[in-house]
Amino acid sequence: MSETLNLDEFLRDWPERAENLIPVLQEIQAQFHYLPEPVLREAAQRLDVPLTEVFHVATFYNCFSLEPVGRHLVQICLGTACHVRGAPRVLDRLLRELNLGAPGTTRDYEFTVRTVRCVGCCGLAPVVRVNNTTHPHLTQTKVRSLLKKYGPEEKAPAAG
């Protein structure tokens, strides 16, 4: 993936003003799933925002990532309803199944695990969102089969 991208595409909808920094970063994040450093430098220049401020914003908000993410983004909700219904144990199990010590990306870049505080599906707690699909009523014994659904492309998909 080339990181020397042309920001024109992203700035088409947003006048080059400092106040549009966040929407521009959001569009970049949506396309690349992270914020490459060269892009941040260029954004600073084009929007006339000090680079330190760009990094301040990029590291302040949880939605932004400075590291590339895996093919599948697994977001586990740790909201209050999910917490009392056992989300911490689901998270633990998820990390163990993927050999991760803490939320992050697996070595093969297949999965990135992130915690999120409330996706608003509290009636179905505990909830895990993989890419754009929300999975309700997770328990730790369902984690393995959930991950199998998103297995590497070469392997034949396991039966749920």
């Binding site: 009392v84 608003g120 599906c121 929300t134």
Partner: protein
């Protein structure tokens, strides 16, 4: 579609929309809110459409997706109109029967009807379901009836009638006066009288003025704003338009959190449709009012629900709050007068205009008027969104509407108001849900999140959980909050691991008061509420943790042990299969044992053990 040039044209369009639809024509409305979508609603929708086609009923039967009905635990839910038959837990294979029932003399599909857990009987209509029967759905009245992506549906149910009334017959002062008289209080959490806030804005001389809808809904456990935005976005827009008229505002912003993609999508569609019809833009309905709305997405920061931090975020900066005064009503977005209100507050405005301030004051208590929308979640049978008159007791909420605690467990506490709120113990279950009453008990109304907890919830763990959350979300600008949340979290973690002492309890208390008195913004000032309320009402649990190194609820991992009762174990081996540390030993058909040295207390074995032979002590 040419833009509407006058209120008369609006009414003519409304009549045309109503005439286009035969109210007797069967309509299947399926909830496609985030909750039911997660439960497979889109597959059901496809199956329904296919079944209608196969049975040749495309002209006769309409299939529509709607917003959230609020009863997520029983989703996917749907209603068959015009009878109002309510079906729950609908799956794609049910589609054929549902569609067939329309032609077969409209006899309902029995197995999909809601079954009352007490009487065992099936009920037919939504308003007969105990969960809904005791609610008073005003803001959510139309969520099960309209397609949020069709402005015509909103017009059909009377949408934009309030706007018409205001533009045709009321002065801005009269609108503000009406909102004041209604007693409407901000539904975002603080409960500030909306009319008073609006009056302050009216008095400001600086221009331009701005309107912001706070749709950040950061409280974990709260999802009513999400449901309203997904299911009836026009109701919020209409409120903002009325506000724009009353306060002389030309530009509005809706700040939606990033974690709500469906709400963002539906808002975009609603704004585009409103612009197309000339309800947003210049010279709205020929009244001279010009108002535009822009959608701004949050980027994942709880603190951006705080109004000055939200403003900073809209301005492209980090969400760091500012000291107040000056308040946003005087100096807000780009230093100009800005009125910020919550989603539900905006949605309440058209209701008040249509039905009158006096009608509104007839609902609720002396100081808390109108209805409140709670998200009733956690250890409760009927989880979902509940809209009730202010003043209803917690008992009524939990047992009358919520159906009580699952598995025959006992109610222990209710956390109200999110991380800024507090835990109300079961002994106070007859407390009315009123702003002042809840604050006096140490909690707060907040945005309406209500998390129910039973004896399997450890209150020390709850306090630690909230402090962990707030530590992460603290913006870091002021020392009391930045350091206070961190230290409180460290102390609470120590206590939950059996390494705390009684001195720690005093320390928790002292630090909590310090944070409350000296933090810059609401996040820091209320951060200690969960600690203070759990110390106040559940001190015995803290004492058990520090004196006896015991967790009465058997949650805190360092203080519990898992074992297998040999007389109950049938050797089925299910636990061994799920144990990731090989801590369970035993041959098939023989009693198994747990090696506590290897056991990481994940609880997976407990989950799968059918004879319930796994014990936690």
């Amino acid at each position: 579609m040419p833009k509407l040039q006058s209120v008369e044209e609006l009414e003519a369009l409304r009549t045309a929309c109503r005439e286009r639809r035969d109210p007797q024509r069967p309509c299947l409305t399926l909830c496609a809110g985030s909750g039911c979508t997660a439960s497979g609603a889109h597959d059901v929708l496809r199956a329904l459409r296919r079944a209608v086609e196969r049975q040749g009923l495309q002209e006769a039967v309409e299939v529509k997706s709607t917003g959230c009905h609020g009863f997520c635990a029983k989703g996917p839910v749907m209603i068959v109109w015009p009878e109002g038959i309510f079906y729950n837990r609908v799956t794609p294979p049910d589609a054929a029967d549902i569609v067939a029932s329309i032609s077969n003399g409209r006899r309902p599909v029995e197995r999909l009807l809601y079954r009352d857990p007490v009487t065992g009987e099936r009920v037919l209509r939504e308003d007969e379901v105990p969960f809904y029967r005791r609610q008073r759905r005003i803001l959510f009245a139309n969520n099960g009836r309209i397609d949020p992506k069709q402005i015509e549906d909103y017009l059909r149910v009377g949408g934009y009638t309030a706007l018409r009334r205001v533009l045709a017959a009321l002065t801005p002062e009269q609108v503000v006066e009406g909102v004041k008289r209604s007693g409407l209080r901000g539904r975002g959490g603080a409960g500030f009288p909306t009319g008073v806030k609006w009056e302050v804005i009216r008095q400001q001389k600086a221009t331009p003025k701005y309107i912001i809808c706070n749709a950040d809904e950061g409280d974990p456990g709260a999802f009513m704003d999400r449901s309203l935005l997904e299911g009836n976005p026009h109701s919020v827009l209409e409120g903002m338009m009325i506000g724009a008229y009353a306060l002389g505002v030309g530009k509005g912003f809706i700040y939606v959190r990033a974690e709500y993609p469906l709400a963002v999508q539906h808002l975009r569609v609603a704004i585009a449709q409103a612009e197309e019809y000339g309800l947003l833009g210049d010279n709205i309905l020929g009244s001279g009012l010009s108002f535009r709305v822009r959608l701004v997405q949050g980027a994942g920061a709880f603190v951006c629900g705080e109004e000055t931090a939200l403003i900073a975020s809209v301005e492209g900066r980090v969400g760091e709050p500012q000291p107040r005064p000056p308040f946003p009503a005087e100096k807000g977005l780009w230093g100009k007068p800005t009125v910020i209100n919550n989603v539900k507050t905006w949605a309440s405005v058209p209701v008040i205009v249509n039905r009158g301030a006096d009608w509104y004051t007839s609902i609720g208590t002396e100081r808390s008027k109108g209805t409140m929308v709670f998200s009733l979640v956690g250890k409760i049978n009927n989880t979902g969104l509940v809209e009730v008159p202010m003043g209803i007791t917690l008992r009524e909420m939990i047992y009358g509407i919520g159906g009580g605690i699952p598995n025959g467990n006992q109610l222990k506490a209710v956390q109200i108001g999110g991380p800024s709120g507090g835990c109300i113990p079961a002994s106070l279950i007859d407390l009315p849900t009123d702003y002042e009453e809840l604050t006096q008990a140490g909690s707060m109304m907040g945005s309406g999140g209500m998390v129910v907890m039973d004896e399997t919830t450890c209150m020390v763990d709850v306090a630690r959980y909230f402090m962990e959350f707030l530590e992460e979300e603290s913006c870091g600008k002021c020392f009391p909050c930045r350091k206070g949340t961190q230290r409180l979290r460290q102390i609470l973690t120590r206590i939950s691991q059996g390494q705390g002492s009684e001195d720690d309890l005093q320390l928790l208390d002292d630090m909590s008061w310090m944070m409350r008195e000296t933090s810059l913004c609401g996040l820091g000032q209320t951060a200690a509420n969960p600690v203070l309320t759990t110390l106040r009402y559940f001190r015995d649990e803290y004492l058990a943790h520090v004196r006896e190194k015991r967790c009465p609820a058997k949650v805190c991992r360092e203080l519990i042990t898992y074992s297998i009762e040999p007389t109950l174990c049938d050797g089925c081996h299910a636990c061994v299969r799920v144990c990731t540390t090989d801590a369970i030993l035993g041959e098939k058909k023989e009693a198994h044992t747990i090696d506590t040295g290897k056991c990481i207390k994940c609880g997976a074995c407990l989950e799968v053990c059918q004879p319930q032979a796994v014990l936690v002590s």
